[in-house]
């Protein structure tokens, strides 16, 4: 139990907490590195679809859907990275 009004500084608690936080930050950076590779793969995927048979509209919808998805992931990543950077500073 943390002391009232004070921080829990008992050994065994903080290191685990810190390690977990910095571990998360590392994985976040890994995700940031992998994001463009994943997007690149998604956007090259239609090249594997049969030519001629695939309607352009399907490719169009697929591409814009994945594009919007990647924007969403970028929002989450940017927010998480900013929070991580702030946590690292303080």
């Amino acid at each position: 139990m943390p002391l009232p009004g004070g921080e829990d500084t008992r050994p065994g608690r903080r290191p685990i907490f810190l390690a977990r936080a910095s571990y998360r930050r590392r994985r976040l950076r890994d995700a940031a590195l992998l994001a463009p590779l994943a997007a690149g793969f998604l956007w090259a995927l239609p090249l594997l679809w049969p030519r001629g048979d695939t309607p352009a509209s399907r490719v169009l919808v697929y591409l814009f859907a994945t594009w919007a998805l990647s924007v969403l992931i970028a929002v989450l990543l940017a927010r998480a990275l900013r929070r991580a950077a702030r946590a690292e500073e303080s």
Binding site: R29, A32, L33, A35, P36, A39, G40, W43, A44, P46, L47, W49, R51, G52, D53, T54, P55, A56, S57, R58, V59, L60, V61, L63, F64, W67, A68, S70, V71, L72, A74, V75, L77, A78, R79, L81, R82, A85
Partner: protein, 895 residues
């Protein structure tokens, strides 16, 4: 229908509005109320200059011709923005840390602040981007042309392009060269761009919504129309898809205008985080309705209509003049913002890397003596803006505006992307060298010119048709569009592939083979490890220039207020009171970075170099100087050592010489003394001997003369004995017979020998205190005592002479004190010299060697004998050696 003149009027109003926006932004910034001007949203919107008129009009044309392939141009940049964490963040950090002003400055700075690389990249950018600027002018002319009715004679494309160029040049000069520091944001321009970004995306979305919902009948109906259109089939070439995606990704990094807004105008690194999703979203929206517009245009407009103008012609054909005018303003915005930023970026490069270095070079006396450098740099930048736009207009006129818009864009992309290997290599590989970068750039540039740029100018104009099909001089493997026999490849892919591959190979190979200079290596470490260390790059290890000279120069470039502020800050940081700091290497580095923000790294380096002793002090030179200094120091150290040795030898020689001279003088004096001493008795002996030989003398006379001869012979013998004794002592020969004896016994013996009959001399002794045991040679010590007692008897001139003999336990000495008149102090010093006798030689009866012998004896015994001046009568003190005296104190003997 909206007339040509009406549209010109709307355009002019719009331009006036942009002027107002830019002015207001500048004003707010000047008042310090620029908070929201520095927001990530403005940053993201400024990135929208990626979408030029090529996008606005050309994307629809591209889609109408090649289906979905146009998407690659937007997917590529989206990939780069998604990967901002590991590439753009580093680029922006480096740009801010090194105060980079342009992409040419980045390459130049990374590779040892090389002027050569700055020039190469600048030339590459000018050649690559000029057609792109021409393309924007063409799009403005072309779009106005759409509105021109048959009767509108003013619709001459040339004059529209010319007036557009002039207007854009004015705007750019007005808002782009307000401040010299290219790192400072151009608030007016950025704000205008942001407004234009909103106008153009709004226009395109409006046209798209009109097409999909008003004309197409909703999204699902629209998708059905797409599948029924000529571009319905997915027949995309994989090579082109992947190739163009990567190419446009690289272009986002390498296009001078994109570098300008991404890196140079970046106010805060964290803005990248917002832009990482907001800019892909912007691109998504920009390309969302491209296919529907293209499909609808193909469906509704008559055959032969220019698909590049569907965005305008479709609303016009449907009678939506307002929408068409908005679309026109969107296209105009796209063109104008691109031209402004591209021109600023190019003008900064041309000015910083070509004009200013040439100007500095031409003025041999350097920047100290020159006039207003600040004014000169500004003028050079303004002239460069005019020059760049002039070139763009010239290209537009010469090319005739005939080529399809999209192809010019791709030509420019492949051209500027030649910087990519040097850029990425410089950011991530410390082994990249200046020579490698130069080799890669030159080769890539040459291949691009040959395989893409020159053929793009027009069939048979720059390169004859025969060369295109058969190669230069019949060398088929050098055909511009089939290098090394690679036939059948898409021309753009072909050019991009070969130029980048050969570029990278040359870059890596030459980098591996060459050795970077010290500045290169320092900058390499700074760039590659920008997140690890924040220290300034090396370069200035000495500050020969005084702070005042530097301030004068800095004022000319930065303006007096700002320069003085920088100097005062530095002085305060150094803890100094005045306005001028000490010229430390750190200060010079910081100042150089400040200047680099205005005139580029290489020029700032050169200018500071001219300040500090009129020439650039490179690290090579410093190392050379340090080597030289070390050598000189070592040499002079050796010399010093040698000369000290010589000095010592000379001194020893001088001493030896002085000793020899003194000895020789002594010897001469000694010999003359000895001869004199021997001569006196010899003369009387000879005289009396001759008298005796002549005979006729009374017997008593005979006896008297014989006695005189005997006395004199005895004196001679004593003298010779003394001399021999002294010679033995001085030579350190003769054995000492050390024994333990009691002092009083030695004194008793000496008194018995010296005063067989005490006569008139009264002796005062304290026998009790003399009963101490000492270790000495008793015969020699007794000799000294005899001498001193005899002297007292001979020389004491008191009426009732007395001699006190006192043992002094503390120094361990025996004092012989008589009650005579004493010896004058100055004579006290010489009485121990040989043959020295006081006043009356007659009374001595000796040769004056007695005290000299005493001194020698005592020296050999380890003690001393000295005359104590200032006492009543004459006092001689015989100091016994310390160990002997200590013995005496420790073991008193009862007698």
């Amino acid at each position: 229908m909206l007339g040509f003149n009406g549209l010109v009027g709307i355009a002019l109003l719009y331009v006036a509005f942009l002027f107002g926006v830019a002015f207001a932004a500048e004003r707010r910034a000047a008042q310090g109320r620029d908070g929201w001007l520095r927001s990530p949203w403005i940053y993201t919107l400024s990135l929208s200059i990626y979408c030029t008129a090529w996008t606005f009009y050309g994307a629809v044309g591209y889609a109408a011709r090649s289906g979905l392939e146009y998407l690659t141009i937007y997917l590529g940049p989206s990939l780069v923005m998604l990967g901002w964490w590991w590439l753009l963040r580093k680029l922006v950090r480096v740009g801010r840390a090194q105060r980079i002003t342009s992409i040419a400055d980045l390459i130049s700075s990374r590779f040892g602040k090389s002027t050569l690389l700055g020039v190469i990249v600048t030339l590459l950018a000018v050649v690559g981007v000029t057609p792109y600027i021409a393309l924007q002018l063409q799009s403005i002319a072309q779009s106005l042309d759409v509105f021109a009715g048959p009767g509108d004679t003013a619709g001459d494309g040339g004059s529209v392009a010319l007036w557009s160029a002039i207007g854009l040049a004015l705007f750019t000069i007005l808002f782009g060269t307000r401040n010299l520091d290219a790192n400072e944001r151009h608030h007016g321009i950025v704000m205008a761009i942001a407004v234009e970004a909103v106008v153009k995306i709004g226009a395109l979305l409006a046209v798209g919504i009109f097409v999909v919902w008003d004309l197409g009948g909703g999204p699902s109906a629209m998708l059905a129309r797409i599948d029924a259109s000529p571009i319905a089939a997915w027949e995309q070439s994989g090579g082109r898809w992947v190739g163009f995606t990567l190419l446009s990704a690289a272009a986002l990094l390498c296009l001078p205008r994109m570098f300008q807004v991404l890196v140079v105008e970046n106010a805060d690194e964290s803005h990248l985080g917002t832009a990482s999703w907001a800019f892909p979203l912007y691109l998504l929206l920009m390309s969302l309705f491209v296919v529907p517009i293209a499909v609808m245009g193909l469906e509704r407009l008559p055959d032969g209509s220019n698909p590049d103008m569907f965005v305008l012609t479709l609303p016009l054909a449907e009678g939506r003049d307002g929408l068409a005018a908005w679309a026109f303003l969107g296209g105009f915005s796209s063109a104008a913002s691109m031209v402004m930023v591209a021109t600023i970026a190019l003008a900064t490069m041309v000015s910083n890397h070509i004009v200013v270095p040439l100007w500095l070079h031409a003025r041999a006396q350097g920047a100290v003596m020159s006039g207003d450098v600040r004014g000169m740099v500004l003028i050079s930048r303004r002239l460069s803006i005019l020059g760049v736009l002039g070139l763009g207009y010239l290209y537009f006129r010469l090319s005739g505006g005939g080529a399809a818009l999209a192809s010019i864009g791709l030509v420019a992309f492949v051209g500027v992307v030649q910087v990519l290997p040097a850029m990425l290599g410089g950011l991530f590989w410390r082994g990249a060298t200046r020579n490698g970068a130069a080799a890669g750039l030159v080769i890539g540039f040459a291949v691009w010119l040959w395989s893409m740029f020159l053929p793009s100018v027009g069939d048979g104009t720059a390169i004859p048709a025969a060369v295109m099909t058969q190669g230069p001089f019949g060398l088929a493997w050098l055909r511009p569009q089939a290098l090394f026999g690679s036939e059948g490849l898409d021309p753009v892919l072909h050019a991009a592939l070969w130029s980048l591959v050969l570029n990278s190979m040359a870059f890596v190979a030459v980098s591996l083979a060459s050795f970077p200079g010290p500045v290169e290596r320092l900058q390499g470490a700074q760039f590659v490890g920008v997140f690890d260390h924040s220290g300034g790059p090396g370069g200035w290890a000495r500050g020969a220039a005084d702070a005042e000279t530097l301030l004068v120069m800095a004022q000319r470039i930065l303006g007096s207020a700002e320069a003085q502020a920088i100097f005062a800050r530095a002085a305060a940081a150094q803890g100094r009171d005045g306005a001028l700091p000490d010229v430390t290497p750190e200060f010079i580095r910081a100042l150089e970075r400040e200047l680099a923000g205005s005139v580029g790294a290489a020029t700032a380096h050169a200018m500071i170099g001219q300040m500090t002793e009129g020439a650039s002090v490179t690290v090579e030179e410093l190392i050379a100087v340090a080597d030289e200094t070390a050598q000189i120091m070592e040499y002079s150290g050796r010399l010093e050592q040698k000369s000290a040795e010589l000095e010592r030898t000379a001194m020893a020689l001088r001493e030896a010489n002085a000793n020899l001279t003194a000895l020789s003088v002594q010897k001469d004096g000694f010999l003359s003394q000895v001869s004199h001493e021997l001569r006196t008795p010899m003369t009387s002996i000879r005289a009396f001997a001759e008298i005796l030989r002549e005979g006729g003398l009374a017997p008593d006379e005979q006896a008297r003369f014989a006695a005189i001869i005997g006395d004199e012979a005895g004196r001679l013998t004593r003298l010779l004995d003394d001399l021999l004794d002294l010679a033995v002592l001085e030579a350190g020969q003769g054995r000492l017979d050390m024994r333990r004896v009691v002092l009083s016994e030695v004194l008793d013996r000496a008194l018995a020998a010296a005063l067989p009959d005490p006569g008139g001399l009264r002796l005062l002794r304290d026998r009790a205190t003399e009963a101490v045991e000492i270790e000495t040679d008793p015969d020699r010590l007794a000799q000294v005592f005899i001498n001193l007692i005899a002297n007292a008897r001979k020389y004491c001139d008191a009426a009732e002479p007395e001699l006190r003999i006192v043992w002094r336990p503390e120094p361990g000495a025996v004092d012989f004190i008589d009650n005579g008149s004493g010896i004058p102090a100055e004579q006290g010093r010489v009485i121990f010299e040989k043959f020295s006798r006081l006043s009356d030689p007659g009374r001595a009866g000796g040769a004056g060697l007695g005290l000299a012998i005493c001194r020698e004896i005592m020296t050999r015994l380890g003690g001393a004998v000295r005359h104590l001046p200032g006492s009543e009568g004459t006092t001689f003190r015989v100091e016994l050696p310390r160990n002997a005296a200590a013995l005496a104190i420790d073991q008193p003997v009862a007698v």
